[in-house]
Symmetry: C3
Subunit: 262 residues, 3 copies
Amino acid sequence: MKLALLDDLRTQNPIVFNISNFVTVQDVANGLNALGASPIMSEEPAEAGEMVGLAGGVCLNLGAFTQAQIQQIRTVGQQANAQHKPLVIDPVAVGAVQYRKQVATGLLADFHPDVIRGNAGEIAALADISWQAKGIDAGEGAGDLVAIAQACAQKLDCVVILSGPTDIITDGTRVVKVLNGTPLFQVHVGSGDMLSSIVAAFCAVTPDTFEAAQTACLVFAAIGQRVVQTVPDVGAGSFTVHLLDALQSTTVAQIEAVAAYE
Amino acid sequence: MKLALLDDLRTQNPIVFNISNFVTVQDVANGLNALGASPIMSEEPAEAGEMVGLAGGVCLNLGAFTQAQIQQIRTVGQQANAQHKPLVIDPVAVGAVQYRKQVATGLLADFHPDVIRGNAGEIAALADISWQAKGIDAGEGAGDLVAIAQACAQKLDCVVILSGPTDIITDGTRVVKVLNGTPLFQVHVGSGDMLSSIVAAFCAVTPDTFEAAQTACLVFAAIGQRVVQTVPDVGAGSFTVHLLDALQSTTVAQIEAVAAYE
Amino acid sequence: MKLALLDDLRTQNPIVFNISNFVTVQDVANGLNALGASPIMSEEPAEAGEMVGLAGGVCLNLGAFTQAQIQQIRTVGQQANAQHKPLVIDPVAVGAVQYRKQVATGLLADFHPDVIRGNAGEIAALADISWQAKGIDAGEGAGDLVAIAQACAQKLDCVVILSGPTDIITDGTRVVKVLNGTPLFQVHVGSGDMLSSIVAAFCAVTPDTFEAAQTACLVFAAIGQRVVQTVPDVGAGSFTVHLLDALQSTTVAQIEAVAAYE
């Protein structure tokens, strides 16, 4: 776990190109900005190559998209591979919606992700493991979460982040668990999408995607946990506000003081 | 008025499928989430049937949409009818923009809403009653608001919510007025859209749409009023933040203590 | 500098029609609403003429748009000219992305803006002056910012606002500098888009666009500065919340007390 990557990120201010779904895009942009990265967004194929060229990392969110937008996601994913830019995928609701799983499976045959971040239901679906997902939520299942994450990582040959009360990060063999966090992340719809883009920002400052993925998870989870510990009576709305403040102001030393991982 | 429906909602955590306009979609998702429902959004026709199948209630917002998106709204509305899912319509700006009234009239011939929620200008337009609307705002008119709401409900054979300083809820004959609220709802552009989706969430936990509609209005108005009463110097920005916190934390007993309706 | 225009705006409550990019649209709508204007948004060409007719001012944001949306922007821009409504353009990222500069140049041949607002990189690009832009950020350059703003204003025959730590407002000859502000504007992605729409709101209450532009900049910058001076420990997230509150509550006298311009 290299927490110093956070200082590198704040010094280098990497550009992250996001295809973010329209529900959470503003939170994603503000979250990246607050942490110290620079967000760019675009839905126009004609500028896809140029946007990827500007970026240090690319994050593709597969939620809430039309077929025209899916084609744009394909173009950007292939451009990221061709230009050797780190590529993070967030497969929103592939566990609950059969159509989305088909779309995601098709896309993952057309480009190669460096990191996939999803909840248990989403990662299980991509690994073809049975799971009871519920809408955009993780749902419930009896499976071994570590085994599910490893199966997905091996199948798709990438780093997998299985987000939940405990985040599981694996490259298919090695496993890191981040124990920090707060249930308030679940109450704020943009949390997962924000984390996915932050993973891309960390990938922009180190070639080691496994290191980038686990550090991003620890930074995000620890900062969220500190918000709940330091702000009295924080709730669904104020959590987001304080999270953005804390993404901007929390130091590596403050994160180290609460960091819990294994 | 069955305030216990709020506890049912929080226990059952119903999925609400929203076609929300791009201006307010994030607020709508966060508002549903904070209250205890689970939001899903989609603009893709290919997953419309599946999304409706997952949902306990459907809310269609008619604001800020292109012709392709209107077609998607038609598909989802028809799916909601076919799958017998409660359907709430929010006819944004049909009172001010002739084109929007044409679109809404066409859509309402193609599917049947269970509830329509709008401001005075919007409900008057759907009832073909003269009114001076102003942009997305209610505007001014001399009509009897109860008569306007009843005429709209009778014409379209559904429950109508006419939102304003006093909310009027009617099934065409019976009328309930919710007297709670605060002028700050008008300063926050997402308030109306948020309420419409919350109505759909309440419809998901009771088959009595008239009961669901009035309870949703009372819960939302009373929670907003309590924010203004409990947070000093709350304004346009902080109101939204505290409203989300309060949607999550306010109890039935706290609502009963301020509830004002007739 | 006519700060009394703010009182006029709050009295007249002008409708501002915005084509806002999907990243910041909610902030723009809430910002206009908080200040005292009335926002309307639309992406549908069939209602473009009607929307322009309702509006006292029009603001076109050129960020994050598809080719279909660019066509809509062209239609609305031409309608604004034809209906003699003041037209503000925000040329997002034309300094960093070659494709966007091509699009903007094409659009500016098809309609005439009354005001263009951008950062140094964007204004330099439109003036064909060399500058090192970075993504959506201003970037760095050695040029004389006043000369760049004047060159752009002369070339495009309009008022130009070059936003930055010091805002430069010029009609090509006359120059006003607004010295108020706070670095927190840069941390919040919606700040620039919000200011552009606020400029359109001021243009709706006076025919003097140079006066409207400079007053809008002073009002926005001074209100942001007061937030930082009056709210302890304000950061990336809470700044937005307090900015919306302050847009609603700050008086002309309070702005005059901190106003710094030359």
